[in-house]
């Protein structure tokens, strides 16, 4: 058994029909006033629906706006990359130039000081002569000792052997 309020609400929403509608309208003291009230209620319902939909759109925009502002503020808060001369291409070019200079310097220095050339800090043999008549098969070679005291050795082979008496002081 529906109460009057339930029937009234159903009538306002247009959900009563048939004998139930006829009986309810017959029970109303002033049908014209009730009809006016029903129209007002329907208008209010339409208005609220409209407003609620608009409100929902508005919220969406509001959140979008909030997000944009947050992104913008985050971007501003992040330390901005300072402008520098050392850009990546310049770094690459600088590295390549330094490497090229190193190679050129190394080549020049190696050209000036050949591996076989004697260092100025070592004793240098400029020339050597052995009497070819007395020592026809004599040969001469020059090398440096591998020890720490950097001895330069003039090595002769094929010199005439002398008797032991020549070792006298």
């Amino acid at each position: 058994m529906k109460t009057f309020e339930e029937k009234w609400t159903a009538w306002l929403d247009g959900q009563l029909s048939g004998r139930e509608l006829t009986e309810f309208e017959a029970s109303l003291p002033d049908l014209a006033t009730a009809e006016a009230e029903k129209r007002d209620a329907q208008k209010l319902g339409s208005f609220l629906k409209e407003q609620l939909t608009t409100q929902a759109l508005s919220n969406e925009e509001f959140f979008n706006h909030q997000l944009r502002e947050r992104i913008a503020s985050d971007t501003q808060d992040r330390p901005r990359a300072t402008s520098t001369w050392w850009t990546i291409p310049r770094l690459v070019w600088s590295g390549a130039t330094a490497l090229a200079l190193f190679v050129i310097t190394t080549v020049v220095l190696m050209t000036q000081h050949q591996p076989g050339e004697q260092s100025e800090y070592l004793t240098q043999i400029l020339n050597t002569r052995v009497d070819p008549a007395a020592n026809p098969s004599a040969t001469i070679s020059i090398f440096e000792s591998k020890t720490d005291n950097k001895v330069t050795v003039l090595w002769t082979e094929g010199l005439q052997t002398l008797p032991a008496d020549y070792a006298a002081k």
Binding site: E120, Y121, L126, T128, T152, P163, Y166, A167, A168, K169
Partner: protein, 170 residues
């Protein structure tokens, strides 16, 4: 200031001596101790020539003042004539002549470095080997003076600078 530095550098350089020795190297059952002049070269000489005894049969210790001196290291039959022909940045320019009595056995021109001794393998003598050894040494008096007075850092720096400039502009 420049003149003082230059003079002090020259005097420091000039206080050096060249030790020249005629050495007989041989293998004996009981080798004598190596002469003090060859102490620093003992292992090198043994490694190079394979002998266990080194005996000095003639020597000379010449202090060089101008770098143009000449001298003789004599034994009974051999003579090593050393003719110094000037000093350069790394040592002395020398002409060496080895005589056997009056015959020239060997002649050589060398730049003797202050940091690099010269050893010349001479003829075989009996069972041994004649060696000629030349070493640049600090003059003893100058050596003592340098130890008594620590090196002047300005002079040292000047010598280093002079050497560096000489290396860049030969």
């Amino acid at each position: 200031m420049f003149l003082i530095l230059a003079l002090s550098a020259v005097s420091a350089d000039a206080a050096q001596a060249v030790w020249s020795g005629l050495v007989i190297a041989e293998n004996v059952p009981q080798p004598a101790p190596i002469p003090p002049e060859l102490t620093g070269l003992e292992q090198t000489l043994k490694d190079l020539f394979g002998y266990n005894q080194f005996e000095v049969i003639g020597q000379s210790n010449k202090t060089l003042k101008t770098g143009d001196e000449d001298w003789l290291a004599n034994s009974k039959y051999f003579a090593l004539h050393v003719d110094a022909r000037g000093e350069n940045d790394s040592g002395y320019s020398l002409n060496l002549t080895l005589y056997k009595e009056k015959d020239v056995l060997l002649e050589t021109d060398a730049n003797l470095s202050k940091s690099s001794p010269l050893v010349i393998k001479g003829p075989q003598v009996g069972s041994g080997q004649l060696l000629l050894v030349l070493v640049v040494k600090d003059d003893e008096l100058a050596h003592r003076r340098r130890h008594a007075e620590p090196a002047n850092p300005i002079t040292t720096a000047w010598q280093r600078l002079r050497r560096a400039i000489h290396n860049v502009i030969p």
